[in-house]
């Protein structure tokens, strides 16, 4: 089965002299079959995306399982997979916080508390909810910032993947960027959200199958979990294998974080902001076929999200123990020719996987990138069409016109992403700022949405000024520390805090400012009559009663089970 790759394809794909691994014909066949399958799904579903409801919301026909898997998969982009594996190598098991306390409570909160309001209001997007609750100002602010950040993130994801493929496999950067982006544009442009969701489910399964062998073989290689912990402890210190016990002070752990930042900044604000208001993920749940499915989807997603550290964080920890060389930061890697943290996942794949399995692992990485990018462009095209173009530029177009606009937007979104990828190639420092940029908008938006849903006294002016004040606070705090690094002791409460801790506290302060301004302005302005808040605010109209045949069908039961598992896991790895 060790066939030789065709000459033409190998010219594009491999320059073995500079790469760590070489794909043979079996690997290339595995990758080609994947591309063939996703494009086929796009063409197959083309006929199911004729109306705007079908194209943008997948006809609201997805089951809880499909919506739930797609919900998690859209978040599993290349930065998420390779970046957090690299963070695990850099910071140890602390990186798991971004999968557990930084995701699970927020996902359960979305399913149990917030989903009913999104779902019964029949909005098509998160800015759409803001429109109903606060009017056009908050909608425009949210839609424009979301559209801008979405294509920017998509381009950065694209560049990250292409860079790793170049370093590890010797692939041409342009080849990786264009082939993967054209494929995503094709299947999302043809089949709309339904095609994106179908492929995301497929990609989620592939990510697991392709990446699962690394921790399995890695644990055998390291002599089991106990031996792995002992090896890391002896080499770097026990703080690399404990999640909470070293977070009592900023200087006691490699991440430079404090538990208050994790609980209040990460879990309460950043994570809730991302998982409950970022339309990239919320759109998947809105496509569910009924309210029960919409509530179960994030709960199913939470169960799978809780398992993701096994294929992302564990390989990073294993690399600390088994790799015979040391990985370094991106800038040092570029200067010295060493491998960077971000390459740890592909490096571990190359270590354990021979022909065929290596192709499957590379396919998993490509699938991760494509699911993230498809999520970005499908959300971008929906927000642009519904909340910018349809809301402000052309309000009276036909349904067919909006579908055509959505298809064009998909291609344009991909092109802007490609442009961003090339921009990042020439100005790598942009990547350092984008993660922070994203939190500028997400944290205050969560304050605005949650007050709007839970407090009927919140007014239109309160929502808009709160959102604006929160966003300006986040930007202001970022610039303050950027221009005067000693300001870190005020923003992050300690001069020992590091970048991730600063992000958490900045998000917390901007959220607090948003909430305080919203409440203050709301009390000073006239509230909306209750008749205009029906279906939008807690307590105004009773939520529809769900009739489950058995107790075990209730979403709250499953949310409880996931919550108990979450607590147990945190105690085990304390």
């Amino acid at each position: 089965m060790q066939l030789q790759p065709s000459v033409a394809l190998s010219t594009y794909l491999a320059t073995p002299a500079h790469s760590l691994a070489h794909l043979n014909a079996v690997d290339i066949a595995v990758i080609a079959i994947y591309f063939g399958m996703v494009i086929f799904i796009g063409f197959y579903l083309k006929g199911s995306a004729n109306t705007s409801e079908e194209f943008f919301m997948a006809g609201r026909e997805m089951t809880a399982w499909i919506a739930g898997l797609s919900f998690v998969s859209a978040n599993l982009g290349s930065l998420e997979l390779m970046g957090w594996a690299g963070s695990a190598y850099q910071y140890g098991i602390l990186a798991t916080h971004w999968y557990w306390i930084g995701a699970i409570p927020a996902m359960l909160f979305l399913g149990i508390i917030m989903m009913p309001f999104y779902y019964i209001s029949k909005v098509n997007s998160v800015p759409g909810y803001l429109h109903l609750r606060y009017g056009d100002g908050a909608r425009a602010l949210s839609a424009v910032s979301f559209a801008f950040m979405t294509v920017l993130m998509s381009g950065i994801n694209m560049y990250s993947m292409a860079l790793v493929m170049k370093v590890v496999l010797g692939w041409n950067l342009n080849f990786s960027i264009w082939v993967s982006s054209i494929t995503v544009a094709l299947y999302v442009g043809l089949g709309g959200l339904r095609s994106a969701i179908y492929n995301e489910v497929l990609q989620f399964l592939l990510i697991w199958l392709g990446a699962l062998l690394v921790p399995v073989l890695g644990l055998i290689d390291a002599g089991g979990w106990t031996n792995l912990k002992a090896q890391i402890g002896a080499r770097l210190g026990s703080e690399y294998v404990h999640m909470w016990s070293t977070t009592g002070h900023f200087s006691q752990n490699p991440m430079g974080i404090h538990w208050t930042g994790l609980v209040f900044g990460l879990a309460l604000v950043i994570s809730c902001g991302y998982w409950t208001t970022d339309f990239l993920v919320v759109q998947r749940v809105l496509s569910a076929n009924n309210l029960r499915s919409a509530r179960m989807a994030p709960i199913i997603g939470a169960a799978f999200k809780m398992a993701v550290p096994f294929i992302v964080i564990l390989p990073g920890l294993l690399a600390l123990a088994v790799l015979p060389y040391h990985l370094v930061g991106e800038s040092q890697a570029v200067a010295t020719g060493q491998h960077s943290y971000n390459e740890v996942l592909p490096l571990m794949l190359v270590r354990y996987c021979g022909p065929g399995l290596l192709g499957l692992g590379v396919t998993a990485l490509i699938a991760g990138f494509m699911s993230g990018m498809a999520g970005n462009v499908s959300a971008f095209s929906t927000v642009w069409t519904y909340d910018i173009y349809g809301a402000f530029l052309n309000k009276k177009a036909t349904d067919q016109h909006y579908v055509a606009m959505g298809r064009w937007c998909t291609f344009i979104g991909v092109l802007i992403s490609v442009g961003t990828a090339y921009l990042v190639q020439h100005a790598a420092s942009i990547m350092d700022y984008v993660q922070g940029l994203f939190s500028f908008f997400i944290a205050p938006l969560f304050g605005t949405v949650i007050l709007g849903m839970l407090w009927k006294r919140t007014t239109k002016a309160g929502g808009f000024w709160g959102l604006l004040a929160g966003t300006c606070t986040a930007i202001g705090l970022f610039l303050w520390v950027h221009l005067d690094p000693s300001a870190l002791r005020y923003v992050a409460l300690s001069a020992d805090a590091k970048t991730l801790a600063e992000d958490m506290y900045r998000a917390l302060w901007s959220w607090l400012v948003c909430v305080i301004v919203t409440v203050t302005v709301s009390y000073a302005t006239k509230p909306k009559p209750l008749s205009e808040l029906e279906g939008l605010v807690y307590g105004v109209v009773p939520l529809p009663v769900e009739h489950d045949d058995h107790w075990y069908q209730k979403p709250i039961v499953w949310a409880g089970i996931i919550a108990v598992l979450f607590v147990i896991l945190n105690i085990i790895f304390w």
């Binding site: 089965m1 060790q2 595995v30 079959i33 994947y34 399958m37 489910v201 399964l205 290689d221 354990y352």
Partner: protein
């Protein structure tokens, strides 16, 4: 809904194809050892991993085989 093909059928077919390819590659390596084998190559991961994928894929392919459209 227009489509008759379930997403799980697509997944099943893909896993079946991958399982067969990877398992055959593993069997081929028994008689044609790799020049640069990966770590733990003695465990023959392609054979059992490919076989597991193939069996799971076959199960899903059969269970979710597209049904004929009514009417």
């Amino acid at each position: 809904m227009r489509e008759e093909i379930s997403i799980w059928f697509f997944g099943g077919v893909l896993f079946l194809i991958y399982g067969v390819i990877i398992c055959l590659e593993g069997l081929w390596e028994l008689s044609h050892p790799l020049v640069n084998p990966p770590v733990l190559n003695n465990l023959h991961a392609p054979i059992w991993w490919g076989a597991m994928m193939g069996v799971a894929g076959l199960g899903y392919t059969v269970k979710f085989w597209p049904k004929k459209s009514r009417g």
